[in-house]
Amino acid sequence: GAMQPPAASPGPAAPAGAELLRWQWQEVQAPCLVAAWILVASLAKIVFHLSRKVTSIVPESCLLILLGLVLGGIVLAVAKKAEYQLEPNMFFLFLLPPIVLDSGYFMPSRLFFDNIGAILTYAVVGTLWNSFATGTALWGLHRAGLMDPGVEAGLMDFLLFGSLISAVDPVAVLAVFEEVHVNETLFIIVFGESLLNDAVTVVLYKVFNSFVELGPAHIHATDYVKGVASFFLVSLGGTAVGLLFAFLLALITRFTKRVRIIEPLFVFLLAYVAYLAAEMVSLSAILAVTFCGICCKKYVEANISQKSRTTVKYTMKTLASSSETIIFMFLGISAVDTSKWAWDTALVLGTLFFILLFRAVGVVLQTCVLNRFRLIPLDRIDQVVMSYGGLRGAVAFALVILLDREKVKAKDYFVATTIVVVFFTVIVQGLTIKPLVTWLKVKRSDHHKPTLNEELHEHAFDHILAAVEDIVGHHGYHYWRDKWEQFDKKYLSQLLMRKSAYRLRDEIWDVYYKLNIRDAISFVDQGGHVLSAAKLALPSMPSRTSMSESSVTNLLRESGSGACLDLQVIDTVRSRRDKEDAAMHHVLRGSLYKPRRRYKASYSRHFISPDKQERQDKEIFRQNMKRRLETFKSTKHNVCSSKSKARLKEKGRKKAIPLPSQKNISLNKETPNGKTQRNIPWQEAAPVLVMVSSEEEESDSSETEREDDEGIVFVARATDEVLQGKTTPELCKLLLTVALSAPTGSLDVCPSPCIIPPSPTLAEKELPWKGDQADLAVYVSSETTKIVPVDMQKAWNQSISSLESIASPPGTESGPQHRRFACPVLEEQPQSASQATPEQSSCFQFPSHISRSGRSQSDSSPDGPEQQELQPLMATEEQGRMPPTVEPRWLMFNRASHL
């Protein structure tokens, strides 16, 4: 390992009799040290990120190197000798593969292959040019007598040094560029180059190394030919190994359906075996892993489950990130070891100067040629960033350490120079590249999630271009990509993908699916405290929310998928009273939180997911989506929903003793600031006064939208006859509409992270007075407990209770179920609450202290009824807001792979 054992501690003395405990440091020493170092590095990362200011200016890699220097100094001071160096073997066998795999696997493949020409040019021609130019120039410097005579090196030595110092390092580039956020094209070119130049570096390094070992006198012309041949062998061979293992990996994951738990392991295992296999036959291991990652991803992702995908992603990122951390830290520590150093100012300065100069010259010359063939030329600014972004890193350091001191006399000088070059590029260039990019106004990447339109139309563009190339008879890039995609679809995907995965695979569908999931998740995330319907409606596109709503509404209306969803409930219910109850139960069951129920505790090493959970997640997802759509409808068709609420209210009033709702009605005319009042013509011209409170935070939405999006407080006056005229099914339907629209229509009032009722037929079966109560409880809880974190439940309870406190006079024995059911209506019609059935009130209890606090708050009611009503709620919401934003995220990782 990287850690050389410290001076052997004195072994245990001859045992005198039986021992209770024994000091076994020797046995655990190596793994313990490894763990300790990883821990130190990880803790350091935490510390760095405590201050956002520091990390936004100084790249993490710089900080880690500096930390390494400090730690190395401490070790040196304590142990009196340098220990814990970055060992080349450790580096190449354990630290590098995760980083390369990560970058290959998550490489944006389309972008990569779109720019493959430029990437290959820079990687091959650029690296060759840099190596030879740097090596020769340094040799020239040496011949000119500018260097210390102690530097015993010939042309071959300098070329060898040039080959290892000239390669741009993937680890360093990634570490720095990830924080800079230049545009994708620029990033992929620099990063792709750093990955693919490995083949060139490896070949040059090996060839020159053997030349140095042979000695200049023994090199024959055939050796040069061999060198060129080995380049093709190493690069193409490495790629082939990668492709082979990618194929194997994809094939294996096709059959892992029953062993989901070890699915992720195959990805790591095969990629690692690919690396080792390539390394074994001295092919380019980096190329092997890179291409293995790039090529297998599509099939692997389609085959493995969503959970495995998440596991792969996170494990890969964790491994890569910790490898990177350790590499940079050990670079710092290794630099302290002065025994390896031999300083020569001319060599160091010369190398620094030449690598910068030749990199710039190389980039400019190659870009000049490349731009003739590129659709979008790389401009001057791009070239500056590319030249400046040529960072050197740990690969160079590991290679220089690997040199044989016997053969390469000037090794110590080279080591010192390499360390300086690596430190200079990582620290100085890493620090300055961000300001430089800002100063040059380099086009940054705009990270936005793909929208369906973009995906769809870009697909169309691809087809169009392929068709035009066909028509023109030019077999260009699009032609070949089209060919490849057809081949892939016909044969490869068939072979490498599960039947089920293959059937459902479509990029447009994927994007649609992801968008839906994202919306559902953000909906749950926002849960209790969404204030505007706009946010709720389309969290994915905050800027476009306002415009999109009406369309959805129309669509819903046209396709008839709106309110009629719940009509089935009504059909089977007989009397009107029953119908009301049915509707309420229906709604209740959907929106109530049942006490958290545990799953039967079970442990299995081989399976994690009981089917229940998956089903639940799916159900939740479905319901959220359904609710979202309902939301659209109800928000946009304000009139419609208000109508229904009015009617609802009507109904409530008719049969109940008018109580505190009177207050609302009377205050109705006050119209505080920020509230708009309007009359909406109701059916049969019954006047309904609808008060819409608009407390919009978002200033950009227009007035009308604002009204639509707002929490609505309805106060309606209509005659009883009108209501009588209504057919009861419709009433129930409307009831449901109200309930469904509750989260939107009155988000301020009722921030319910709740679930809308499941499909009506299902609900029907389980209506409490039909099925037994216990059954129902189980059903609902299995739906709700998973997604709604406890905090949110609390917030919800609090808001409900605060509502309750307003709606009903303290101390009144009131049935909670009506409140819960229709929070928007609640405050206006607490009368209905008085009709509680004991059966239901027993199933849900508010925490008494919470409701009490809510009550006391609302007792002091100064001005404006709405204001009053909202305040306690807002306050409680604030409390509940913080934790849920973090917690519900895990939902994402649980998503079942298909709808």
């Binding site: 030019h474 260009g476 009406s550």
Partner: protein
């Protein structure tokens, strides 16, 4: 701004496609291109070559359509705004794509029109219901004026972040 050799090359392609040797191409001539037959949007793209109500296209018309896919050059970006907009402008490129969707030429992509294209591009594996929800969502994303259809302005807006200049250009037509 198309080079002479380019025109010669395209003309020879034109004549080789022109099996009737009458200086115009018919739909059949296009359909004979094997790769085009498997292109999901092949028919739509062929139609784009033919002016309204005609079923023959001459070399000039052929070139006019292809001109949409010429890359935008640096010197063109800064050209004066007085002249007519070149065929390869961003807006014209987008309009070309837009017309592929808009079958009834009412300057709107309706849900039905979108569904048709989706069905062509997505293949048979996805149910009509799912396609329908994709179409709904797509329109919902793009629609600004609430007419449940995507107008050209909305089409442009929704693709404003897409590098259309690059994605609708072919280097060959330089």
């Amino acid at each position: 701004s198309v080079s002479h050799s380019q025109i010669t090359r395209l003309y020879s392609r034109f004549t080789s496609l022109d099996k009737g040797e009458n200086g115009t191409l018919s739909r059949e001539d296009f359909q004979r291109i094997p790769e085009l037959a498997i292109n999901p949007l092949g028919d739509r793209i062929i139609n784009a070559f033919f002016p309204e109500g005609e079923d023959q296209v001459n070399f000039r018309g052929f070139m006019r359509t292809l001109a949409h896919f010429r890359p935008i050059e640096d010197n063109e970006k800064s050209r004066d705004q007085n002249g007519p907009e070149p065929l390869n402008s961003r807006s014209n490129k987008l309009h070309f794509a837009f017309r592929l969707y808009d079958l009834d030429k009412d300057d709107k992509i309706s849900r039905d029109e979108l569904l048709q294209v989706l069905r062509m591009m997505v293949g048979v594996n996805i149910s009509d219901e799912q396609l329908g929800s994709i179409a709904d969502r797509t329109i919902q994303e793009a629609d600004q004026d609430g007419d449940s259809a995507i107008s050209f302005a909305e089409f442009v807006k929704v693709l404003e972040k897409v590098d259309v200049e690059q994605k609708m250009s072919i280097r060959f037509l330089h």
